[in-house]
Amino acid sequence: MENSAMKQIKVKETDIPGADIQVEHEYHSPTARRIATVILVFLILLLLIATLFLLRMMKPQGTIASGDAANGVIWVRSIYSTGPDKGNQLVSPAAVAFLPNGNIAVPIVTENQANVVEFTNTGQYVKWWGGPDNTDYRLKYPTGIAVGNDGSQYFIEGPNDKIVSLTSNGKEGRWLQRMEGPSSVASRNNRVVVGGSGGFALFDISGKLLYQKGAQGKGDGDFDMVGGVTLDDQNNIYVVDTYNNRISKYREDGTRVWIVKTGNPGNAAPTGKAPAGEVKSDAPANLQTPNNCVIDGSGRLVVVDPLDFSLSVFNTENGSFIGKYGTFGTEDGKFSYPTSVSYDPATDTFAVADTGNNRIQIIRLPGSGGSSIVKKLLRSLSGPVRACCFPLLLLIILAVIYGFTKFRTKRDVKVEHLEEDDGPAQEEKPSLGRGRKK
């Protein structure tokens, strides 16, 4: 036994010439090292298995359309219900908006009144509201929703010719306006734009009407049901003229910048002979009934088309068509009569009211978040990757603790050497305070 112990001891350094020899030994136990290595390998394997199990648990179950099958749509998740019972299921959601905190608001119409249901972006039900009871602000039939930068909410009630603004908690009314057949609403900075059957109107956030533009018709400057409006950072207004099948851009003062054709008006056949659905347009987008729209993180205009089951992307500088994403289907990642779209720049995700499939889909589109490295990083951190933030933080904390301990040890050694150099008298002196006593 003694022989074995001797083998485990190795002389590392011999120092200080003179009568006494200072020897520092390093304990070396091959058996202990082997055991520790086996433990490490076993632990790594165990953690790998546990990680695989974890990933399996996190993976959504079911058929998810991706790539060509989803026509380029990148599915993130779907929201179906506020609870597990049949009565908790979303039924034909027709409007959706991101709230400033990244949560999602969906108006749900019931028999007598409507409520707005809030979900987290991971699909968990948070709460509902519907405006103050027994007042004109109480929501009854909201057909569109918009949320301002300050969280103020704007609802249009098409059948009631009403525009309602609520406070950010949805409990108090802010202002109320009347407008014939409002069909779309958007808010940004200090402006609220509302589309109607024959044009659009611009309000400031206090509800004051700034101007109304357009008349119902087919001519240039006319509109036939504005199914979508949105604003960009410069308060330029984008208008989707659903039945005339065209989109246009206006400056804040109401002057038109451009107008482009996106398909045949009302999906009508030019010759009157082609059956419905057979109509092809010379417009590159070839849309059927363009509807709701939003500006994405790259400053592009994204338009949803319920009858084309797609999201089309346009250049906001000149209205040129960039691309089309999405296809018909019931699988997650596909659409059935999508009617409304909203964009969250923080997570670079779109929320789409997939009306025919009774769900809200959270999706991504290629190129929507911009191409800068910072934006790409933020985008990746907005997904499940952000779950790595806590471990990373822990690693940093451990590194800091380790560095600090090393620093203190070095300093203590220095102090000790100083004490030794000063001779025996120093031993009587009190400690330097922060140094470790031996």
Binding site: E2, A5, M6, I9, D20, I21, Q22, V23, E24, H25, Y27, H28, S29, T31, A32, R33, I35, A36, T37, L40, L43, L47, A50, T51, L54, M57, M58, P60, Q61, G62, T63, N71, R77, S78, I79, Y80, S81, K86, Q89, T120, T122, G123, P275, G277, E278, Q288, F309, S310, T327, F328, T330, D332, P384, R386, A387, C388, F390, P391, L394, P424
Partner: protein, 261 residues
């Protein structure tokens, strides 16, 4: 000058702990860091709602949640049992699906000829790519449905013209679902002739079923009948316009046809 004494752990010192070895200490430290990082990751995942969040994310998870809720209420009829079993199978829980169907079989459920449970079992086998067993179950189901149909006709004879039985041949949803299961199982076995037979039988009752027309086109394309496939796709497009996937198929076959000419 004070000098340090020679340390006790010299040549013949007492046996030391394994932690006295620096390398061992490092390895143990790495182990602890790994465990801490893993626990932090799991905590992070749970806190951020990526795990432990039981809200359904996909259509299949949604169907499972609904079916499970109904089943757990304890009032599940044979159709609910079928739905629950199919939802389980779709989410990769085939064994549990069969257990549920077995329990349904054992329970005294009022289900003529066990139609729903047979259909459920056929669908579960189909999801598990066990095509032969799926076809066996469909055969049993079709026999049960035929017997039921005969029984209904007999019952209705005395009450005048059984008009409701003449609609769609008196066949219910189960009959048509069984046909789709049959077609899919034969397709899985690459028996396209029998798959087409099942689809055509379906279409003889529902000639405007666009998805079935498209499916027929897909199978005809696999058999090399491009003309038949194109016709079938065009027919499907009539009843389901604006579907980009269908349009792509038509355009692909049309281009091939023109090049062939």
């Amino acid at each position: 000058m004070s000098r340090k004494p020679i340390k006790k752990n010299s040549l013949r010192g007492p046996r030391k702990s394994i932690f006295a070895d620096k390398q061992v200490r490092i390895i143990i430290f790495i182990c602890l860091i790994l465990v801490a990082l893993y626990l932090a990751t799991v905590t992070s995942i749970v806190v951020l709602g990526y795990l432990g969040n039981d809200t359904p994310r996909t259509l299949q998870e949604q169907e499972l949640t609904l079916a499970q809720t109904e089943y757990e209420k304890g009032e599940a009829g044979p159709e609910n049992i079928k739905d629950y079993a199919v939802a389980l199978a779709k989410t990769g829980q085939g064994r549990r699906a069969h257990q549920i169907l077995d329990a349904g079989d054992k329970a005294n459920i009022e289900d003529p000829e066990r139609q729903w449970l047979l259909l459920g079992r056929a669908q579960v086998y189909l999801i598990q790519s066990n095509y032969k067993n799926a076809l066996q179950q469909v055969d049993k189901l079709q026999k049960a449905l035929a017997a039921q149909y005969k029984k209904d006709i007999e019952q209705q004879k005395g009450t005048g013209n059984p008009t409701y039985l003449t609609a769609e041949g008196g066949r219910g949803d189960n009959y048509f679902t069984a046909l789709t299961v049959k077609a899919e199982a034969y397709e899985g076995l690459k028996d396209y002739k029998n798959a087409l037979k099942a689809i055509n039988e379906y279409l003889s009752f529902n000639p405007t079923a666009a998805d079935m027309l498209e499916w027929r086109g897909d199978i005809l394309f696999k058999t090399g009948d491009n003309t038949g496939a194109l016709e079938s796709y065009k027919e499907a497009k009539k009843y389901n316009p604006g579907v980009s996937e269908l349009e792509k198929k038509i355009s692909k076959l049309s281009t091939q046809g023109q090049n062939g000419k």
